[in-house]
């Protein structure tokens, strides 16, 4: 099957500054993807280049096999058939909900347009607001309208530029899942940009982590969390710390938490030192364990406690313990490691 979107070695310069360099990725039809990264990493610029608002300085963008942008040529955004949901939504204040949705469907017969509007409004459960103006809607409702407005012309690709960032945390997760369901139902290929990894996890099949203009890893959420390919991804996705370890052989590490066996993420010469990624759920609170650590901070999270523990050497690690294990700060508790895939980076 032909890829919906292909990006080859794309670099973007703006105002003489290199913003994105040598990014390559592909999207299959119907795939939901996401770009995450700290602010200023170039993810929004990449998105705007796909949409056609910026032009690349090198590399190419292919939509459905057709080249739509490279260094010498750029199809204007209105000719691309790529929909976009903007961070500030950009609903037209002088048009009703229906007219906003109909905006991109110019030239289609009136009954077809009306039918599509009805269908989309029903999809988001807002049929009653058909003739409202944007300012009469709540924030979440505006978001849904912005989404279905971009979907209405059945774009080949839908881009979402942090459209959920104005929503509060609780509503956000619910909204993201709603949007995902809608996009799946419509079979739309989409790419979301966000700095919030939970949003990314909730939305996307494939997630790209960007840093300083580069795409570090283009992978599933599971792999990003459990098999990060770089220190940055290990650090950016999920919580965790790197503790120093010594390679004993191809399957064994010596750490200050004891000897540990498992599958190494990369082969390193025995005897060399490395760093091992430890997630909070990799450390199990076990009163029987000979390894002891002192509680320096704790965070009650309802179902669990997140403890920050200090080892003998002064290294601090995180430990997720069941909620009823209630320990005071300063107390020394027993812990042990529970890992089978060992993510190591050479020192």
């Amino acid at each position: 099957m032909q890829n919906q979107l292909e990006i080859h070695d794309l670099s973007i310069r703006l105002g003489g500054k290199s913003i994105v360099h040598q990014v390559s990725l592909t999207l299959r039809p119907g795939e939901l993807s996401c770009l995450v990264g700290p602010s200023g990493c170039g993810k929004t610029t990449l998105l705007r280049t796909i949409a056609g608002f910026e032009q690349p300085s090198a590399g190419s963008v292919l939509l459905h096999g057709n080249r739509i942008a490279d260094a010498s040529h750029s199809t204007p955004p209105e000719k691309r058939g790529i929909g976009m949901v903007f961070q500030d939504l950009a609903l037209f204040p002088h048009l009703t909900v229906a007219a906003n949705i109909a905006f991109g469907m110019q030239g289609e017969p009136r009954p077809a347009v009306d039918q599509r509007i009805d269908e989309l409004l029903r999809l988001v459960g807002m049929s009653a607001q058909r003739n409202c103006y944007p300012h009469q809607l709540s924030g979440g409702q505006q978001q849904r309208i912005a989404l279905i407005r971009a979907m209405a012309p059945r774009p080949a690709l839908l881009l979402l530029d942090e459209p959920f960032s104005s929503q509060d945390m609780e509503r956000r997760e619910q909204l993201v899942q709603e949007v995902r369901a809608i996009l799946l139902e419509e079979g739309i290929t989409a790419m979301l940009v966000t700095h919030d990894q939970h949003e990314a996890f909730a939305f996307a099949d494939t997630i790209g982590v960007m840093s300083e203009g580069g795409l570090l890893q283009w992978d599933s959420a599971f792999n990003l969390y459990h098999r990060p390919l770089s220190r940055f991804v290990a650090d950016f996705i999920g919580q965790g710390v790197l503790i120093s370890a010594r390679i004993v052989d191809g399957q064994t590490l010596q750490t200050e938490l004891g000897k540990i066996r498992g599958e190494l993420s990369q082969q390193l010469p025995p005897g060399s030192t490395a760093e091992l990624l430890i997630r909070p759920d990799d450390i199990i609170h076990d009163d029987q364990s000979p390894v002891r650590a002192r509680v320096v901070a704790r965070l009650f999270r309802g179902a669990s406690h997140l403890y920050t523990l200090e080892l003998e050497s002064g290294t601090r690690v995180l430990c997720l313990a069941p909620s009823h294990h209630n320990h005071r700060i300063g107390e020394r508790i027993g812990i042990r490691l529970n890992l089978d895939h060992l993510v190591v980076f050479p020192c």
């Binding site: 703006l14 105002g15 500054k17 913003i19 602010s39 200023g40 929004t44 610029t45 705007r48 949409a51 056609g52 608002f53 910026e54 032009q55 260094a71 010498s72 040529h73 750029s74 204007p76 955004p77 209105e78 000719k79 691309r80 058939g81 790529i82 929909g83 976009m84 903007f86 961070q87 500030d88 950009a90 037209f92 204040p93 002088h94 905006f103 991109g104 110019q106 300012h135 407005r149 971009a150 209405a152 012309p153 774009p155 530029d161 942090e162 960032s165 104005s166």
Partner: protein, 565 residues
């Protein structure tokens, strides 16, 4: 911090479709800007022209007087308009007294009066045979010449006339500045032991100074541009000098050089204004705006405040309108005839066309700049939008010279080639008049269009494009509907400005083509002041519309007061 797309370096390529070719929009915008700049550059070019014999003659005889009178007039208007404007602005923004709510907008009414019409009206009221002197003679039983009476047709008179119609600029900007000042600054000053008077002079006034300077420089630019008043009062300034050199001495070069010199005066004023604003750029220390306390005044002070606000309104609007109305009642049977209707039709058509042309050009330039915000285009648009600062008389010279040359060249070529004359194709027709209006008033529509476009977030454009709409469709379906209000305002303001404009119309109108303003000027020159009243009153009454519009806009945009969502 919520839109990374906007934080990125002012994206120079944001609206470009390809890197290689500028869009047709910006090419058209660039060409238009260049054409509109021609008159200004033509006049400036004469600064480097070797002076003619006439120039030497002018320099030896009247030039000193032009400069002296212009400077004196500016000083007088600065003091007059400044003190009236600041006082009324302070009183209406800080105190509560009878009539305050009315004064807030009514104080703008004198803006509706062109200075020359005020001058004609007061001359008629104060001349020896006028109602005021007649009243003095009958009441005190004295004969003409046996009592002292000020001569209105003098430089002092011109200062008063100009101050009365121009103070609203200062009032408007000073009041906006006073309202913007956080009460906290004033309260801090009070808590530090300054009384209300000292707080005014040591806190409020210095904080408002940048705004006051802008208001004053607007008033002074209008003073330099004035032709009708000084001409009627026999005060020799640059504008009357240019007119006389052009029509009396038929010396194009000397007239253009005088115009260039006047333009230097204007530029100096602009530079001074910019400089003084750079010297003092105040940031408000808090963005917490409270409703101003509106101190209630005691009985005596309250009436003093009412009087202080009533006087400029009385002399700048009520009395002259009453006098004009009275004259109009006495003379309309002879004056409002078919000819008058033709005049009115001429004026309105001309003003309407000029307003429409200015709006279309402003849209072209403003939208071109939005699509391709290159530095080059930005600078061009800025220069093209400078016309408002340039006196109408200077613009008249600036368009006559190049188009006269073009006409003569074309005519000569046609004769050589085809054996017939094409005549004055540009400079003898309404074309040149409309072009001059465009040069002068483009600023107004351009500012309005740019402000309107500026309020529309760039993501709106992008949203439209991403839904398959092109540039022109986006303009038609998104920008124009969103800017409808400001576009109407632009049309209206240019319409009224053209209606009031005298010097450029006087110089450039085609033979036998008259407007209300020119007719009023001609009748007044013939000492038929009462007969001029119908034309004058029409101009003033139409001029009130934008003043009302302005006051409504201001009432809706006060910081510190709840805005309707």
């Amino acid at each position: 911090m919520n839109n990374p797309a906007i934080q990125e370096p002012p994206s120079s390529s944001g609206f470009r479709t390809t890197l290689r070719w500028p869009s047709p929009w910006s090419v058209a915008a660039t060409l238009t800007a260049l054409v509109v700049m021609t008159p200004i550059l033509t006049v400036l070019g004469y600064l480097f022209h070797p002076g003619s014999g006439t120039w030497q003659h002018l320099a030896d005889t009247v030039l000193g007087e032009y400069i002296r009178n212009s400077l004196l007039l500016m000083a007088g208007v600065a003091v007059g308009a400044g003190s009236i404007g600041i006082t009324t602005a302070w009183l209406t923004s800080m105190y509560r007294f009878p009539g305050r709510r009315l004064f807030i907008w009514a104080l703008l009414l004198p803006l509706a009066f062109p200075a020359y019409i005020l001058a004609y009206t007061y001359t008629g009221m104060l001349e020896p045979a006028g109602p005021v002197q007649e009243w003095i003679r009958t009441t005190f039983d004295v004969g003409y010449g046996e009592y002292w009476f000020p001569e209105i047709r003098s430089i002092g008179g011109a200062m008063v006339m100009l101050s009365l119609v121009l103070y609203p600029y200062v009032y408007l900007l000073a009041r906006a500045a006073f309202l913007e000042q956080s009460v906290c600054a004033l309260e801090a000053s009070r808590s530090l032991g300054c009384g209300p008077w000292r707080s005014f002079f040591s806190v409020a006034l210095p904080l408002a100074r940048p705004a006051i300077v802008v208001g004053l420089s607007l008033a002074l630019m209008e003073t330099l541009a004035d032709f009708g008043t000084v001409d009627y009062f026999g005060v020799s300034t640059f504008t009357t000098g240019i007119f006389r050199t052009w029509y009396g001495l038929y010396d194009e070069v000397a007239a253009a050089q005088l115009a260039a010199l006047l333009m230097l005066f204007v530029f100096t004023l602009i530079l001074l204004e910019r400089w003084s604003r750079r010297q003092a750029r105040y940031h408000h220390t808090t963005n917490r705006y409270q409703a101003l306390p509106e101190i209630r005044l005691g009985r005596v002070n309250a009436w003093l405040a009412t009087t202080a606000c009533l006087l400029p309104l009385l002399f700048g609007f009520l009395l002259p309108v009453a006098q004009l109305t009275l004259w109009a009642f006495q003379t309309w049977k002879q004056m409002v005839d078919e000819e008058f209707l033709t005049l009115a039709a001429n004026s309105f058509t001309l003003a309407g066309s000029a307003a429409l042309i200015a709006l279309l050009v402003a849209l072209l330039l403003g939208y071109g700049k939005r699509l391709q915000p290159s530095r080059w285009l930005q600078a061009l648009v800025q220069v093209a939008g400078m016309g408002y600062a340039i006196p109408g008389m200077v613009i008249a010279i600036g368009v006559l010279i190049p188009f006269g040359w073009l006409d003569n060249t074309l005519d000569g070529w046609m004769r050589d080639r085809f054996g017939f004359s094409s005549g004055l194709l540009f400079s003898g027709t309404l074309f040149i008049l409309l072009f001059a209006y465009l040069v002068r008033f483009l600023t107004v529509s351009l500012n309005t269009v740019e402000a309107g476009l500026g309020r529309i977030k760039p993501s709106m454009d992008e949203a439209a494009w991403s839904m398959g709409q092109g540039r022109i469709t986006t303009l038609r379906r998104v920008h124009l509907p969103l800017m409808r209000g400001s576009l109407l305002t632009a049309l209206l303001i240019v319409f009224v400005d053209v209606l009031k404009e005298l010097p450029a119309t006087l110089v450039l109108r085609p033979f036998n083509f008259n407007t209300l303003a020119v007719r009023a000027y001609e009748l007044a020159s013939d000492e038929r002041l009462a007969d001029a009243s119908s034309a004058a009153l029409t101009i003033v009454l139409v001029g009130i519309i934008p003043v009302i519009l302005l006051s409504v806009t201001i009432a809706h945009s006060r910081p510190g007061h709840a805005k309707p969502a």
